[in-house]
């Protein structure tokens, strides 16, 4: 791409700065792709659902897709920076050319960025379709989530209510989320789902936990004084444990 | 600095066209404002959250019925009359008829005063309180904004008439042209409010 900026010169690829940029491009792309992808993947929480695994691989793919562009910009900058530099209070001599555009380079650049854009769109679109179809899963477990300043309440199908969320592993669940006061946002961190809790409305989010363990629920919409403390735990347990917990919990509710 | 090159002695047409563009750009902002009010109106009407767009009767108050459409249309009619009067005056200015200009400007000013009094009366005698649901909120929003617009119109048309009276517009009349732009927008914005409020 760099090449076409001097279309008049024959054998542009033999120019030393072009060669240098080409080598740097390969190196920079590899470094940026690897470092960028690893930075994201290693810092992200380990997934507890298929959705979250999807997010992680999506980010890995996007990083590698963006790496050649970032790598090219970096390579060209490095080439420029390592070429002759002028320090001093007076300007250096004029550059030895007056190239003020290059239709080929421009066209190529726009086409490539459009293709990358399309790629990102299609990637995202496929995942959206998958996610939104799971909202209509009739066989899924239905849990009502209610946010209030500053705690979460979970209501289960059989009338039980809790402040910690309990879910059976490997069973789809659909959350019906609302709020009684101001806006909150329901984030199950390790499952990669999030949906705002709006007063006056009910919104939906769906996920299938695939790992037994204890995970985090945090509020991600500033909701007043104790917003930072509006968090709770998700206990993902086996179906048998879940049934046992639910039956005990209903009795507690009724007893109280 | 010679007089010819001085910025404040440019040709009136140059200055006039510059001013017209400035006013139009400010109107772009005002139009964006008015359109977002229309957006608010239709959003709340479409959502009808908790069925409180027009709340049903409760023990405390009777059912909220939307205003009849007539006040909004009446204001629009009055400002349309003002626009026509101003236009008549402008034609006078263009044909060097100062009497016609003065008469048109005066009538336009009177129309703006009538309109603002009427608008104030509509707000003051509205048969509901602020907390009577989303439709009522929108009514107050449109009515108060129209009141503010009318206050500006009173100021502008008063100045326009006063300046016409003093004979300032004898040689060039681009001010009068620009005031016409404002009057047109005044009519359109009244119309928007009237149209929205008469379709609950």
């Amino acid at each position: 791409m760099t090449d076409v900026m001097t279309p008049k010169a024959p054998q542009w690829w033999k120019k030393p700065d072009v060669k240098k940029t080409a080598i740097l491009w390969v190196v920079c792309t590899a470094v940026i792709g690897y470092v960028g992808a690893e930075f994201h993947v290693r810092n992200m929480v380990s997934p507890a659902s298929e959705t979250m695994s999807g997010v992680i691989s999506l980010m890995r793919v996007f990083t590698w897709a963006a790496a050649p562009v970032a790598g090219l910009v970096a390579a060209m900058c490095l080439t420029v920076l390592t070429s002759k530099r002028h320090y001093g209070d007076n300007p250096p001599a004029e550059a030895d050319h007056q190239v003020s555009n290059s239709p080929r380079a421009t066209a190529l650049w726009i086409v490539v960025s459009a293709l990358l854009c399309l790629f990102a769109l299609v990637g995202g679109f496929i995942v959206i379709q998958k996610d939104s179809s799971s909202l209509f899963d009739k066989s899924a477990l239905q849990v009502n989530v209610t946010g209030q300043q500053w705690l979460w309440n979970f209501d289960y199908e059989n009338g039980a209510r809790s402040e910690d969320l309990y879910l059976p592993v490997n069973k789809p669940v659909v959350f019906h989320i609302t709020s009684v006061d101001v806006k909150h946002s329901f984030w199950v961190v390790q499952m990669g789902i999030k949906m705002d809790a709006n007063p006056g409305y009910t919104t939906e989010a769906a996920v299938t936990p695939n790992k037994i363990g204890v995970f985090d629920v945090r509020c991600t919409e500033l909701c007043g004084l104790l917003h930072a403390y509006m968090q709770t735990k998700v206990h993902v347990v086996s179906q048998a444990d879940y049934d046992a917990w639910l039956s005990i919990h209903v009795q507690i509710e009724k007893g109280a | 600095m010679s007089v010819e090159t001085h910025a404040h002695h440019e040709h009136p047409d140059v200055v006039g066209s510059r001013n017209r563009l400035g006013v139009i750009l400010l109107l772009v902002a005002d139009i964006a404002f008015a359109l977002s009010m229309v957006f608010v109106y239709f959003y709340l009407r479409g959502q009808n959250v908790n069925n409180m767009w027009l709340p049903a009767a409760t023990e405390e108050h009777a059912v909220v019925t939307p205003l009849s459409a007539s006040p909004g249309w009446t204001v629009t009619a009055i400002v349309t009359f003002g626009l026509l009067a101003h236009f008549y005056g402008l034609k006078g200015a263009r044909s060097k008829n100062q009497t016609q200009l003065k008469l048109g400007s005066l009538v336009a000013f009177v129309a703006s005063v009538v309109a603002i009094v009427y608008q104030f009366n509509t707000i003051a005698t509205a048969p509901f309180t602020f907390s009577d649901g989303a439709y009522v909120s929108c009514f107050y929003m449109f009515a108060i904004l129209n009141f503010v617009h009318l206050a500006l119109t009173v100021f502008i048309s008063l100045g326009n008439w006063n300046r016409a009276r003093l004979g300032i517009y004898v040689s060039d009349h681009w001010h009068v042209d620009i005031v016409r732009v404002w009057w047109v927008w005044m009519v359109v914005s009244s119309l928007l409010g009237a149209f929205a409020l008469s379709n609950p």
Partner: protein, 620 residues
Amino acid sequence: MTTVMSKPVSAPGKSIIEKLNFFTALALGAISAIVVWRLALQFLPEDTEVRLFTREDKITLLSMTAWLVGFMTGIGALVGPFRWLMGKDLSHEENMFLAGKDMGIKRYFRYTTDHKVIGIQYLVIIMVIFGIGGILAMLIRTNLGSSEGGWIHPQAYNSIVGTHGIIMIVGTIIMVTGPFGNFIMPIMIGARDMAFPRLNALSFWLIVAAAVPLLWGQFLGGISTGWTAYNPLASQAPLGMDGYIMFICIFAISTMVAGANITTTVVRMRAKGMTWNRTPIFVYGVVASVALGLPAFPVFFLSQIMSAMDRALDTSFYNTAGGGSGWLYENLFWIMGHPEVYVILIPAIAALMEMAPVFTRRPLFSFNVAVMGIAGISGLSVLVWAHHMYLSGWAPLLNTPFMLTTELISIPTGMLFLVLVGTLWRGRLWMTMPTMSIFALLWNFMIGGITGIYLSDVPADAFLHGSMYVTAHFHYTLIGAGLTGALAALVYWFPAMTGRMFDKKLSWVAFWIVQIGFNIAFIGMFTVGLAGQPRRVEAYASTFNTGNMITTGGAYLIMSGMLVLLYGVISSWKSGVKAPKNPWQAKTLEWTVGYPVPLENFEVLPTVTSDPYGYGKAQS
């Protein structure tokens, strides 16, 4: 209306113009506010049981409005309109007085209409804004130094976060178009002043007037809602919220007036021969920025008026119990909120594009693509707002179209990269702080841009939204790209504005400390965001401790770099090396007038015969 008159009327009221200044404005504003406050306290009816807590809001809003009216009257903003009304337009002498002719330092404290005075006024007020916003940022970072909530009370902490947000947003909106758009841009296009000099003064003094309600609000419970002020949280917030509302309303008026003024200036007042393809790219950036504000800020204005009505009159725009909707607020807010980030970004990048040919001694690469990029970003930016609401649940079906428009913005943004990289390529690099800022911008904006692609993707956003990752992302765009460009512009245009060179050594030291500190701080913030720390929290799980410590350390580095820069500004302004007439050997018009720039800039208006990027040796 301007003052052009074919038949000047003699001016008996001249003395009132001479009497008014900043101090009469302060006095009149304070007196009006106090009088209205006492009257409202006396005569407003008590709250009924049905409507609680509306009386205090009415009193607060009325007094703040009285402050605004009093201040603007006291500064002399109403003189022009009333003289127009009376048919006694300002005479030439009065206009020259207003422009600050032969007035010395006093003109900076008056309703002065000279665009150069206003540019300097903006520069100073922006330094004040960044100073306050920066102190608030340091309070936030210091508080987050330890995990279990620091020494700041949660209510105060939330208010600091909200105030830091809104004050920095306002500061960055005006940081390029304010000082450089006002001081440099009219000279750059060969004009004697702005199209509407009095409106220009109005824009500036409205910002000064707006500062007071914001400050006032800090003593009434603060802005505890974050800068977004989402409803219904805002309607239950303390009286400080009214300060926010007034601040936004006044600032919106200022922005709209400035937008109309600057756009008119550029469209109508360019020098003879300055066709659109000879107009410097910086001018395009400024116009795109302020023109984008014209449709965007009224929406914000309306959203706050409705917020005020909900609070003071008990209407129900956002109150779901009364038929309102919180989603309505979010829509209105982000219809302004997204164009606004480009309002900040575009002029900063355009300023660097203006400098790139100067410091590489070659023509700007693909001027047309640069214009297309700016136009494309501006056009698309009004169609993407709902990507801030992917997860609010208001319309899940619209997520896909909004994802489309959002990701499309990467194409015009890529064009700006192409222009900058293309200009650097095979240039003769003149190493100055602005030159290095171009590289810094490319680096930072690349990170900001690519993280933006993850965030624009709905499934990834479902994880990242509302986390520290978002905070780091927009700081990368607003500081990493925006502020970097603005600081480069400061060093570049410093000689034109002050007649002295910016101290070279200090500019380098400040540059490196700020850039290194910035990258440390916000890379650290990315890590805690990815690990799951929400935004705007005053306490966090101890697993996030390391990342937060890194961020806090980086923030202190930024602060020390900015202090070096501040010292550089003051010392260079006072006793820097006297600048030669055109120190960078640039070809734009602002370097032809010398220093001090005479009132009305040009004795004879220039004629332009080529574009300003004719660098480089012609090839045989």
